[in-house]
Structures are given as C-alpha cells and as structure tokens.
Amino acid sequence: MATTILQIDDLHVSFQVYEGTLRVLNGVSFGVDGSQRVGLVGEAGCGKTTTMRCVLGILQTPPGRITQGRILFHDKNLLKMSQGEFQKIRGSGISMIFQDPVAALNPVFTVGDQISSVIRYGGHQKASAKAIKARAVEALHEVRLPDPERMFASYPVQLSGGMRQRVCIAMALATEPDVMIADEPTTALDVTIQAQVLRLLDALVSRHGTSVIFITHSLGVVREMADWVYVMYAGSIVEGALKDELFERPLHPYTLGLMGEESRRGSPGAFQTTSIRRVDVDSIPAAPRRRRSVVESGPN
C-alpha cells in the first residue's frame, strides 16, 4: 500500500454571517496517497473549494472558522502550524490551480515574473536569477507553450484562456509539489481546449508522480482524470469509491441523480423530466447560495 501523503480528518468549518452561523463543512474526511488522483465532485456551494482552502491555509478567517478536525500532511498537522512553517509547504509541498486563470494571474506582472517568484519562494531563495529563469522557461516548455522565451516576457492579457491555464499549471508544477490541487481547472475553457488541458495534466502528473486532488462539478471530467472519487453534498462526503466502482454501481441517491442528469444530456431521445423533490435547504447547513432553490434528487 502506498503511503498516505495528505489526510483530512473530520473537518468542520463554519462561517459567521449576518443571519447566523452557516455550517459549511460537516466532518469531511479523506486521504490522498502518493501519486494518487482523487476527484472531488459536487455542485456549487457544497464545500469543495472550502475544503481545499483549509488545506492550503487560505481560508478567510473571519468569517470562516475551522471548528474541529485536523489536516495531516506527511503526518504533521497543518492546522497547528505557524504561518512561517506553513509558508514552506505552500507552493513547494502543496500547490493549487485555480478555476479562473484570469483572476489567478496578476495582470501587471509578466508571466515570467510570476513563475519566478513561485520558484524563488518555493524553496530556491538562494538560487541565482539566471538559474530561476532557466527553471521557469523549462516549466513553460513543459506545458507545451509555444516559444517559452517569449512567453516568459509576455503579460497575461496577451495570452488566450487556454494558454493562461497552461501558465497556471506550469506555476503549480514548477516546484515539484507532492500534492497538487486542481480547482475546476477546465470549467472556464472551451471543450476542445479542455480536452487538451486534461491530456496535458494527465501526462505531467504521471511524469512527476504528483498526487492530485481534482475538484470539479463534471462527472465526465472526473471519469477521465481520477482514480478515486468522492461525491460531496451540503458539506459532507456522501459517497466515495474507486472510479470504476462508482461509475458502475453508484449507490447514493444524490450520485445517481447527478449521473442521471449528465447522461440524459448526452443520450439520444427526449429530454425527460426529472422528478424534482423540494428539499428544505434551510435545514441543510450548507449550500448558502441556493437557500430557496430546488435541489435535485432521486434517480427516477
């Protein structure tokens, strides 16, 4: 059995808002082994991104608060660490690709500046500027950007969406982290570009042996990328299984609902009306953005 690199245990997070306390995460637990690819699926507001923000220590506090649980990275509890210790892990031990490459890149610095600073603060403080540049150009080359030297000197606005996301991937992998978190890395991209980016990620991760946590709302993407899948709903993991197991025998009604929804879109025939059951979301402590909306459930 491979060693567990990252272990999240019984994580509880709540947010203080005007209306009261929102319990956003209610005991999330899962582990990531070396070179494993974990998929985390769920709809908007279910707590996927909040979980990952806790792992990176970038949860906004206040209003957020981790009330319970621990996150072990190489058997050390990240939640008990000082900012200084955490800073050493962030970037070089755990890195992240954000959903929106436009927001993730600073528009007033060149791509090269931004990758260089990631490399410098990711454990190469003493390296020469030349060595850092060489490493940055290599990272850009690795994500198959044409003419990496020119890319190094360009600003994010000069690149297309797909190219920007490649730059983000280069940044996330430049320091060779143990775990990479990919938060909806292809949601903002067109489907043909999505296919390219997924193929690239797949190749890079295999080559480096990086563990990946793949956050997405698309089961199709998870099916292509993950070994192990967790389905999240309203701040809890409702189902977790090996990929093939989950797609062949989904058990939780919510998973079935999600799957039905996606395959119906792709299957021929009439668009079937799904039975929509009104769920009193007020009693469910998460999904704050969908307070009065209707939640899909049930396989039929």
């Binding site: 709809e43 908007a44 297309s160 969406g161 797909g162 190219m163 067109d190 489907v191 043909t192 570009i193 999505q194 296919a195 390219q196 997924l198 193929r199 709302h217 698309s218 089961l219 199709g220 993407v221 099916r223 292509e224 797609f247 609902g257 999600l258 799957m259 929804e261 996606e262 395959s263 119906r264 879109r265 792709g266 299957s267 021929p268 025939g269 009439a270 668009f271 009306t273 799904t274 929509i276 953005r289 969908r290 307070r291 009065r292 909306s293 209707v294 939640v295 899909e296």
Partner: protein, 332 residues
C-alpha cells in the same frame, strides 16, 4: 439551401465585420440558416466563433455589414431602433448572465413591467396582473414581485429573465447560453421549462451554446460555427448519427462522458490540437485547416462551399466536393 417556406427567421449570407485598430474582425462571415415555427436551431461553437454576434445582429443590437435577415417575410436587416415596434415585440432575447442582464436597482415587478410599458400593453392596473401571471408561468411565488435580483439565486434570476422575454408575447426567442452559468440540476429545470413554453406558445428558439451534448435533446437542428462561419448544419438526429465535418468530430470526441455506452457512440478519438485563430487574422482557405487532422494542400488555398451530403445535412469542407454537375455550372 434556404427553402422557400413560411419560416419564422431566414438569415442569408449574413456578414458582420468590426473595424478595430488591429484590422477588420470578421466576426460573422456568410452565415445562412432558416428557422421555422416551433423549431429550435442550436448554434454551437467555441468562444470567439461568432455565435453571440449572430444573436446580437438578429435582435438588432448590431447592424449587419451585409446580407439579409427576414422575420416572417419582413426585412429586419437593421438595428432594433429602426425596426417597427411590432417586430421588436415579436423577437426577444435571454442573455447568458442573469446577474448582469437584470438591473440590480429595480424590483422584479419593475423589471417585468418595463417591456409592457414600452410596448403599451394593457392599462396600468392591468399590468400588475400580467406581471403576476408571468411569475406564475415560471413557477415563482407572487411575493417575488418586491424582491430585487441580488436576493435571488442564479436559477431564479434566469427564470425572471425568461419571464421578461415572454412578457411581450414573442414568436422568436434568442437564447444566448441561458444555462451555462448554472448548475446541472437547475439547468435541467430551466431547459424543461423552455421546452414547455415552446410547445404551448409555438415559439421558435435560436439556442446559442457551447455545450453540444445539450443540443441532442433540445434542438431540432444543429449548426456548428467556427471562426464566423457555419461549417455543418443538419437535423439533430442526422447530425449525431453522422457527424461529418472534421471540426464537429473533434468537438464530439472532446466531450467527457460518464458511461461506457456513451463512449461507444462517440466518434473515434480525435486528438484536439491548437486553438481557434484570431478573427482579425483569418487563415486563408478553410478557416479550420490550421487544426484539422485531415487537412490537405487545397484546404489552405480555396474556400469550401456548403455541400448537401444527405437530405438537409450540409457541410462546408473541401473533402466533400460539390457534385460534378454543380461545379460545371459554376465554372461556366
């Protein structure tokens, strides 16, 4: 390819170019299609393919550079401000992002009443009743009248946008990616509602999307756009049974699926390469040749023509040459 029948909307050789400091952007280039009553045409393409520009030109936000648009036989090749009011009433649009298409400072009642005021529908007293009816139509409770858009969820906002489009009793609605900002479960609800309205009111939809798999269940016909041009257009069943254009095949094979059965119906894996070129600098010949897997020399030299490969199924690719007799007619 334009049939002479009672079509709700006919678009012929539509061009829309924009002049910028870096050159002319050929956003829409020789696009033709027709749309009948009760039909849905799915206009599919990547970002930058010009699909939204088509919608904005049809609704009249842009004046076409050249080409003709007919709505129920009447010419609408001009901006909305120059069109007769009864035509603007009959064509409505739902935008992609309800967060920005609804005025944040107005209540739902004000938002829904505005089209009624503009088109002088009903008396002042009458209008409130109509607004409540519209809310009931989209299955929202009456007390939403006094809410403002920021108090609503994304799906509910889009319902209000749909209700606003229905307010004037249109016959054609342009749907510009109405569900791409929403979660799958809410998406399904909105789509089902749109399909029900279409049946009840015999609406024609021009459904713009980048989500090809959604079109399988929604559209009666599908048109694929690439770099301002339509490269394939066909009735939905023929389109998915026999996707012909290399770009269509690349699109279809790029969609991630959730089951093995679906994988079986996908075309053979075509590896997607390259990106859509800038419309300022359209490659010569076939616009797709820079990414095409079956590209040959003539592709970068001559422009492909629309060719009917089976009944109602048109493709614009040099690998499907026009029938010999048609060619001889052209050369003569």
């Amino acid at each position: 390819m334009i049939a002479v029948r009672n079509d709700t909307l006919v678009v012929e050789d539509l061009k829309k170019f924009f002049t910028t400091t870096r050159g002319v952007v050929r956003a829409v280039d020789r696009v033709s299609f027709a749309l009948g009553e009760g039909e849905t045409l799915g206009l599919v393409g990547e970002s930058g393919s010009g699909k939204s520009t088509v919608a904005y030109t049809v609704i009249g936000l842009f004046a076409p550079t050249s080409g003709r648009m007919l709505f129920e036989g009447k010419d609408i090749s001009k901006t909305v401000w120059k069109r007769p009011r009864e035509l603007t009433q009959a064509i409505q649009i739902v935008f992609q992002d309800p967060g920005t298409s609804l005025n944040p400072r107005r209540s739902v009642q004000q938002i829904l009443e505005l089209p009624l005021q503009v088109h002088r529908i009903g008396t002042r007293h009458d209008r409130k009743r109509r607004v409540i009816e519209l809310l009931q139509r989209v299955e929202l409770p009456e007390d939403y009248l006094y809410k403002s858009p920021h108090m609503l969820g994304g799906g509910e906002r889009q319902m209000i946008a749909v209700a606003r489009a229905l307010a004037t009793g249109p016959r054609l609605i342009l749907l510009d990616e109405p569900t791409s900002a929403l979660d799958v479960s809410i998406q399904a609800k909105i789509i089902n509602m749109l399909l029900r309205f279409q049946k009840e009111m015999h609406l024609a939809y021009l459904f713009i999307t980048h989500d090809l798999s959604l079109m399988r269940n929604v559209a009666t016909r599908v048109a694929i756009m690439y770099l301002g041009r339509v490269c394939e257009i066909a009735p939905t069943d023929k389109f998915f049974r026999n996707p012909t254009h290399p770009y269509t095949q690349m699109l279809l094979s790029s969609i991630p699926v959730v089951s093995k059965e679906e994988e079986a119906v996908k075309p053979a894996q075509i590896v997607s390469t390259g990106e859509i070129p800038s419309p300022v600098n359209v490659p010569p010949g076939c616009g797709f040749h820079t990414r095409c897997t079956v590209c040959s020399t003539p592709c970068s030299e001559s422009e492909p023509q629309m060719v009917e490969v089976e009944e109602g199924h048109f493709v614009s690719c040099l690998h499907f040459p026009p029938p010999a007799d048609a060619e001889s007619v052209q050369t003569r």
